[in-house]
Symmetry: C2
Subunit: 168 residues, 2 copies
């Protein structure tokens, strides 16, 4: 694989997180409504200890919130696409995200290193809606677009962090 040069510091990056914290995060990723009591049973900790740790995780910004997982299909948004955008005028100040933020069909907005400046993930109902959306994006941000249609999604949102909470 890779020829590891010796590291100056044998540290793991910011990730100074204990094993218990990782387990808790993993459990909350799997079920964000789990009670502190149940989290305690699953980790062997007392309810109070879990409460403390989860609160700290929230304060440290490791856990930023909780949300329902919703099926776009069931919501009538069966068409997903990835859109690369490039500004028509590269000399203009780059406020593309600000100009696009109000467009709710855009689920993700990444600034990327490459020929194009941003990659968006969008969800719509029909090809016609996609056509409309592209027009809105182009005119709102003065960009050209290159669209890749998603055919299917074997998996999504699997939070790499979940590996941290795996049962060993």
């Amino acid at each position: 694989m890779r020829n590891d040069p010796p590291r100056v510091q044998p540290l793991d990056y910011p990730s100074a997180m204990e094993d218990l914290d990782r387990r808790l995060v993993g459990l909350l990723l799997a079920d964000g409504r789990m009670s502190y009591t149940d989290l305690g049973k699953a980790t062997g900790l007392s309810t109070s200890a879990v409460h403390q740790r989860v609160r700290r995780l929230e304060e440290r910004g490791v856990v930023t919130g909780y949300t329902a997982q919703v099926s776009p299909d069931a919501l009538g948004l069966p068409l997903t696409a990835l859109i690369s955008v490039a500004p028509f005028d590269p000399s203009a100040p780059d406020d593309v995200p600000d100009r696009l933020r109000h467009i709710t069909e855009i689920e993700d907005c990444h600034s990327v290193a490459g020929v194009e400046s941003y990659i968006l993930k969008v969800r719509v109902s029909t090809p016609g809606d996609l056509e409309d959306l592209l027009a809105r994006i182009r005119s709102a941000a003065n960009v050209s677009t290159r669209t890749t249609v998603v055919l299917s999604t074997p998996w999504e949102g699997r939070s790499a962090s979940a590996a941290a909470g795996e049962v060993s």
Copy 2:
């Protein structure tokens, strides 16, 4: 924008979802730990009614679960990349997702229409880890890769569905 031909059926697609359901989904997207009591207060429904509707939303597969939102940065995974993969041998049966599923760094896996077959979203700690990951992906699935590094993410996971739950 687009020249709408008259629709054969003036239906809204599968989305036969009432306004109340949309509001509930929106609220649960914003706070997945909200209690039925509070959901009731927010929608003007009784606790029981909320309970019924949320249960039905879960049964219908609209709400598929609940999860904590976790900051990859805080977890020590500050480097995100999008990887397009294309099979070396296009005649071989396409079991790329199965071959990649065990690689936990891969958060999303989309099958796409385009020159390349799949687009992956991955998270790692360092460029070195990305290098390793790419090698593992290539050898596990016998594919070539094209990697786009994410510089920053103005927003992510904004669930287009949230628009449904907006305050009018």
